[in-house]
């Protein structure tokens, strides 16, 4: 039979295994070569991009003042000039936070007719890089880690908000420390990379108030009093501190917050800034001193619930539960304001729990406050996006969220009356009246340190796998990557 006309083969054809294998290997090599090659071309592309992008931005900026004659972007938006437009926004908060955020912008959306489409993702940090590199940047993105934003500013992917925001208004509405923290180095000089919206305070020590008072303890005003209280509680039969730093891939971050708080209390703010920038190495005696202060409490098995070993294996959110046993099994917990969402349900703020300010160690450095917050950055320059950005600089943009609890407004025009409880109002006051305000250092450091060796090195030290000097060297090595 002649199979020529059939269109069918006699047998299904077979490939030699050697041929197949070698092709697969070649392909694997090609892919490896491509991925490193594309990495190279990507970086050149991102270097070129700002050069082409900035002239546009600056021409628009020069155009803008003419349009400014009839009011700032926000005023124009309120006048209804941008009705029907859409602004996309991307950020890390999901679930209840997302509901509260959407509640807080609802009035603005109704008034202006601008639709702010918020998209929240648990994988914000990873996704935002893909989105921006893939040319699919949202109009506004919400960075809880300014260090990450700094990378995009460096490659020119972020628009300078000071082009259209009134500098005097900003100065009037934010503590200068906040504005300094938003200023970042771009390809053509420093720019204001975004506006601060929601924030949280970190220098807080939580305690079960009722039981604490009943036991006759008093809130310590100095570090020595704090240590004395710790010792007193230990003598009474309980470990004073509830500490847990387990947090999945981010294990160790609560420990870095402690170190930062102690750093602010044992050295000058200037030294702190240098430390964050990597100019003051971790191996410096100043930093080592902070770790030693931490060790005084953390490494004493009488002071920590479950002892040193349990610190690294206890989830940070679960670590608070012993404080609310009856009677409490632990008494003190240093954590940011958000920790209340991990407290068992049904507790009353101000009665069942309260906080005190982590006392200063050396009076020479005043009462510094460690904060964290979300920096809203802008990627696409359209008038309605400008209006939304300006809206985010007002206290009004976060009012209902403050009222529902859980966040601190960094703006000065946010009234202290908005806070739902005294416990939160005092946090607002603490931020407003702080002599020194510094941002969570690990969020400002380069990712290889702040979200890498700092977490890991501290965890290794606490768990006892390396000694202090070894841990400090390990952390410092992250700056070389």
């Amino acid at each position: 039979m002649n199979d020529k006309g059939m269109g069918l083969l006699k047998k299904p054809f077979k490939f030699g295994y050697t041929l197949m294998l070698s092709m697969v290997l070649i392909m694997a090599l090609l892919v490896a070569a491509c991925s490193s090659g594309s990495g190279g071309s990507n970086s050149t592309a991102s270097e070129e991009a700002p050069a082409t992008a900035t002239p546009e931005a600056s021409t628009e900026a020069t155009k803008e003042p003419a349009g400014n004659a009839d009011g700032s972007p926000l005023e124009q938006a309120l006048a209804g000039n941008y009705k029907g437009t859409k602004v996309s926004m991307f950020g890390p908060f999901v679930d209840v936070d997302q509901v509260k955020f959407e509640e807080s912008i609802k009035a603005f959306e109704e008034q202006t007719g601008i639709d702010i489409q918020y998209e929240g993702s648990k994988e914000f940090e990873a996704t935002i890089s893909i989105r921006i590199d893939g040319g699919n940047a949202p109009d506004i993105s919400d960075f809880p880690q300014p260090g990450l934003l700094a990378n995009f500013v460096k490659s020119g992917k972020v628009i300078d908000v000071s082009q259209f925001l009134d500098a005097d208004k900003l100065k009037g509405n934010y503590n200068q420390s906040w504005l300094d923290m938003a200023t970042m180095e771009g390809p053509n000089g420093s720019i204001m990379a975004g506006v601060w919206n929601r924030s949280s305070v970190k220098s807080l020590v939580w305690y079960p108030k009722k039981e604490f008072d009943d036991a006759g303890y008093t809130v310590p005003k100095t570090w020595d009093e704090l240590l004395a209280l710790t010792e007193q509680i230990a003598a009474d039969g309980d470990p004073a501190w509830a500490i847990g730093i387990e947090s999945g891939a981010a294990t160790g971050w609560p420990a870095t917050d402690w170190i930062e708080d102690i750093m602010l209390r044992t050295t000058t703010p200037e030294n702190y800034d240098k430390w964050v920038k990597g100019e003051l190495p971790f191996t410096d005696p100043v930093v080592k001193n902070a770790f030693e202060k931490l060790s005084q409490i953390w490494l004493n098995d009488d002071y920590v619930y479950g002892g040193r070993k349990s610190i690294v294996t206890t989830a940070f959110g679960d670590s608070v539960t012993p404080m609310f046993d009856h009677p409490p099994k632990a008494w003190l917990h240093r954590q940011a304001s958000f920790i209340t969402s991990f407290f068992p349900e049904g507790l009353k703020s101000g009665e069942d729990y309260d906080w005190f300010y982590l006392p200063s160690i050396d009076e020479a450095y005043g009462n510094p406050v460690l904060v964290a917050g979300d920096l809203y950055a802008m990627h696409n320059d359209r008038p309605e996006v400008r209006a939304v950005m300006e809206f985010f600089t007002t206290g009004e943009s976060i009012k209902t969220w403050v009222q529902s609890g859980g966040v601190i407004a960094p703006m000065n025009d946010a009234s202290l009356d908005w806070y739902p409880t005294d416990v939160e109002r005092r946090m607002g006051e603490l931020v407003k009246n702080a002599s020194t305000l510094r941002f969570d250092g690990s969020d400002l450091m380069p990712g290889s340190v702040g979200a890498g060796t700092f977490w890991k090195g501290t965890t290794d030290y606490i768990s006892g796998t390396v000694d202090l000097d070894g841990a400090l060297k390990e952390i410092q090595s992250g700056f070389n990557n």
Binding site: V99, N136, P327
Partner: protein, 364 residues
């Protein structure tokens, strides 16, 4: 007689070993299932296995020591002397009972005896939270509390179906055509094209994410179902083509020859012969592709995003634990809800699955 006994013996051994392996395999899933019915507070305190009857210490009585007992000195209890560490971890006294601190502060010690214990605190709260959405209590300006229902899984479940079904059917359809052509038709460059397809198997899909995203941005396909269907089809094709090829190339050639003699066109051969004959293979690769797309997180994260109207279940579940992960206990229930569909598909196609795996290995 002897031989049959030997046979039954070895069969029993095989069965016992298999049952044992199955048990080990199942333990994590069973643990997850049990945990999904337990209240969050309980999960923190005791393991899921405590729901089964187990020996544990049960407190018989408590001893109160003098308030001023120094904990850093040896402590005397009922005429015996222990130190603090022993009492913390529990220590056996001479009469066989165990002594352990109830409250160090109040200086009370529990005297315990071992006894049987079962933990029967179960709840449907986790499933309720997952299926109907969590309820948030939001304090209003005037101090009243507004309860608001969060998003449940139902919308995300539908979205996932909309993503998964076409993403399973399209690549398999294309792959079956392609496999037939590669196996039985002659056309130029067939060999090199097939090798190219095979080579795609070793390309990790992650390298393609950003380039594809750039193209999608230009085409406006981001966040649309069409975009993710195409993406999943593309990522799934190499394996599906290869799988279908190995199966179809094993079909007996005589069948096609006689069909061809009777005047059947290629299309008729394909629809009348190839398709019915390759049902087992289609079913088993269908299960693979379905599971892969159903459980996928990365591709949906990049191409479809987390807007609520298109969000798929894997992302919705991740979001459910909250920004700070405080609602982790919902994950257990959510995992089971998301498992329902793949399990249904698997059991529906299971008999083909086994046949498909053997496809081509046994000739006869």
């Amino acid at each position: 007689m002897k031989r049959t006994r030997k046979k039954t013996m070895s069969k029993t051994i095989v069965n016992v070993v298999l049952a044992f392996i199955c048990l080990i395999w199942l333990i994590p899933t069973v643990g997850l299932l049990v945990s999904s019915f337990r209240p969050a507070v309980d999960i923190l305190q005791t393991g899921w296995w405590t729901v089964f009857p187990h020996r544990d210490y049960v407190t018989q009585s408590t001893i109160t020591l003098p308030k001023d007992t120094d904990l850093r000195q040896p402590i005397e209890v009922n005429g015996e002397v222990f130190d603090d560490d022993q009492l913390r971890s529990g220590v056996t006294a001479q009469d066989g009972s165990r002594l352990i601190w109830e409250n160090r502060r109040a200086r009370t010690i529990q005297v315990q005896q071992p006894d049987w214990k079962v933990n029967t605190n179960f709840t449907l709260e986790n499933y309720n939270g997952v299926l109907t959405g969590k309820s948030f209590e939001i304090m209003q300006a005037d101090g009243t509390i507004k309860a608001q229902k969060g998003e449940g899984l139902s919308k995300a479940f539908l979205n996932t179906m909309v993503v998964t079904i076409p993403s399973t059917i399209i690549p398999i359809l294309i792959a079956t055509f392609a496999a037939y052509a590669f196996a039985w038709l002659r056309f130029p460059l067939r060999r090199s094209m097939f090798v190219a397809v095979i080579m795609m198997l070793v390309v990790p899909l992650q390298v393609a994410l950003i380039p594809i995203l750039k193209d999608y941005t230009a085409l406006g396909l981001n966040g649309s179902y069409l975009g993710i269907w195409i993406a999943h089809t593309g990522f799934g094709l190499p394996l599906t083509i290869y799988f279908m090829y190995t199966f179809i190339s094993q079909l007996p050639k005589d069948l096609f020859e006689s069909a061809f003699m009777d005047g059947a066109s290629n299309f008729t051969i394909f629809t009348r012969l190839i398709l019915p004959l390759s049902v087992p293979a289609i079913a088993s690769i269908g299960i693979f592709q379905f599971l892969w797309v159903w459980n996928d997180y990365l591709v949906s994260l990049v191409f479809i995003g987390s807007q609520p109207d298109v969000q798929v279940m894997s992302m919705r579940i991740a979001a459910m634990v909250g920004s700070k992960g405080s609602d982790w206990h919902l994950l257990t229930a959510a995992a089971f809800v998301s498992m329902l569909m793949p399990l249904t598909v698997f059991f529906a196609l299971q008999k083909y699955f086994v046949r498909g795996l053997l496809g081509g290995s046994v000739k006869g």
